[in-house]
Amino acid sequence: MGSHYEAPIRTPLVTGNKSYHDVSVDVARPVEGRANKHWWIVFSISLAAFLWGVGCIIYTISTGIGTWGLNKTVGWSWDITNFVWWVGIGHAGTLISAVLLLFRQKWRMGINRSAEAMTIFAVVQAGLFPLIHMGRPWLGYWVLPIPNQFGSLWVNFNSPLLWDVFAISTYLSVSLVFWWTGLLPDFAMLRDRAVKPFQKKIYSLVSFGWSGRAKDWQRFEEVSLVLAGLATPLVLSVHTIVSFDFATSIIPGWHTTIFPPYFVAGAVFSGFAMVNTLLIIMRKVCNFEDYITMQHIELMNLVIMITGSIVGVAYITELFMAWYSGVEYEQYAFLNRATGPYAWAYWSMMTCNVFSPQFMWIKKLRRSIIFSFIISIVVNIGMWFERFVIIVTSLHRDYLPSSWTMFSPTFVDIGIFIGTIGFFFVLFLLYARTFPVIAQAEIKSILKSSGDKYKKTSESHE
């Protein structure tokens, strides 16, 4: 098996002596089996949160944006904080499947399917916020380049908000297609295993009649590679353009050129943290410890550590540039962030995002499941605060001291945010029961090089 040789010092990525058939059985098990009590409990809580969010959205739309805590000074707050937070989380899936594909990182294969699912579900949550904030969401199609009814007045393509519409819709649709194309062979596996006629019908519908011909696989691999090549600059462009929403304005604290790389690093950071949160639970619940191994979690932790440090450098650069610019408005904006009435938010952000990932330098901690889980939650709290700090602290003390104010969220602000978290988990839990959550075809293709069963036999032959 010369072509499958991999150095013995590389940690196996699939443990438990798996054969090809074992992989099919393991991946199909959560789909073919029945949901356990824990699934129903978590699903019910998520559904309740989602319905509460739906109620708050209905209240917002029927009454108006005045139900939120916004005022004339702080005109953007939780809505856009949540939007940027969710878009950021929605970056990890494409990063894992596209960038790691281009770098030929085999460890992506155990986690890419769920990371991409998470991406799509997170972008759906993000998309809700601009839509709700429009006030009249049924006129949402006005962002499309169509002339209005009064003549040929077009949307403003010089506005970063419109670039965002194009970036996020391209990202969502391309991610969806990338995900589904990768799913075809795995749906086909479920289809061919299905015994109940209804399941057979559904999986043959969604597998698009995938048959696994040699020519199909050749095209499949080429398409995956080209999509990865397209998705890599795309994913970087999305958060870059989201950061333009702020960076192209002239608000002190927003008007900084470091925003694009800083936002992208933050997005990778929070996205990987969310992947860790979800997969640490999933590997336990679905018995995927042999596919999502300690090695996977450790590598994710290393990415979190590095991107967290990049984010830390960005925070410090921002402070330095504010001081070095000599612009007193800029200087005040940052002084106010760190020492003003929102200092608690700033220092929460600093603690969660810059200090907490540094623990990952210690091997024992980054190989601890419970510690990785806690850090992944802490990081996402920190990243929410980052967006809150950028948005609210830059606005709440504007040029006119008489209009200085604070922001306090109403129950509607909180309800909608909790609702999107509920919606996200509803989608993810449904996905976990019906989709092949591990890219089994890809896992089978690395089984001989990275599975412990074959690694052991190739060592014994030497």
């Binding site: 072509s3 949307v155 597998s207 048959s211």
Partner: protein
């Protein structure tokens, strides 16, 4: 072809399959199709399949997207209804172009990705309600299937396949 019978040879290992494909090829048999549960590297070359040109189509679709974006932006922002937005130049496309770069990029990616995937689905005949054509359900699990037209001397072919390590050999009617 004198008859429509085909021989299905099943394998359970991708390396054995790859060697078998080479042996069968060398014995001057025509391999109709190979069904595998996962991509087997080198199989397309061993079978003598031509390289796919999907990447080239993606490049061309990307150029189409870039052109669409350029023409659309020039028409909307410059020709049809120029507006003074923050003093940005609105009467010359090339001067307003930097503000349009994100749109040009996104539409390039949008066209390249979606049209390439649609081309792939059309060429490989994949769409909802399409019936699967793999002859045996095990080929999406852990079996590899080689389909060879039976020809006149079935016995010789079956002996050859047995030698290559096939675990099961069936003579069936081609659908």
């Amino acid at each position: 072809m004198s008859n429509h019978k085909v021989v299905h040879a099943f394998y359970t290992d991708d390396d054995v399959l790859l060697d078998a494909v080479k042996t069968v090829k060398d014995a001057h048999y025509h391999i109709e199709e190979v069904f595998t549960p996962f991509p087997v590297h080198g199989l397309d070359k061993a079978m003598g399949l031509a390289p796919t040109r999907l990447a080239i189509t993606a490049f061309m679709y990307g150029i189409v997207g870039l052109c669409v974006a350029t023409v659309m932006m020039n028409f909307i922002m410059i020709q049809d209804w120029p507006q003074d937005i923050g003093g940005k130049p609105s009467f010359s496309y090339i001067e307003n172009m930097p503000a349009i770069v994100p749109i040009m990029f996104e539409l390039t990616v949008f066209f390249a990705a979606h049209l390439m995937v649609i081309t792939f689905y059309m060429r490989s005949r994949l769409w909802p309600f399409k019936q699967a054509e793999n002859p045996d359900v095990r080929t999406t699990d852990d079996h590899f299937l080689m389909e060879i037209p039976a020809g006149d001397d079935v016995e010789a072919l079956q002996t050859l396949l047995k030698e290559t390590g096939a675990v099961e050999i069936n003579l069936t009617e081609k659908h």
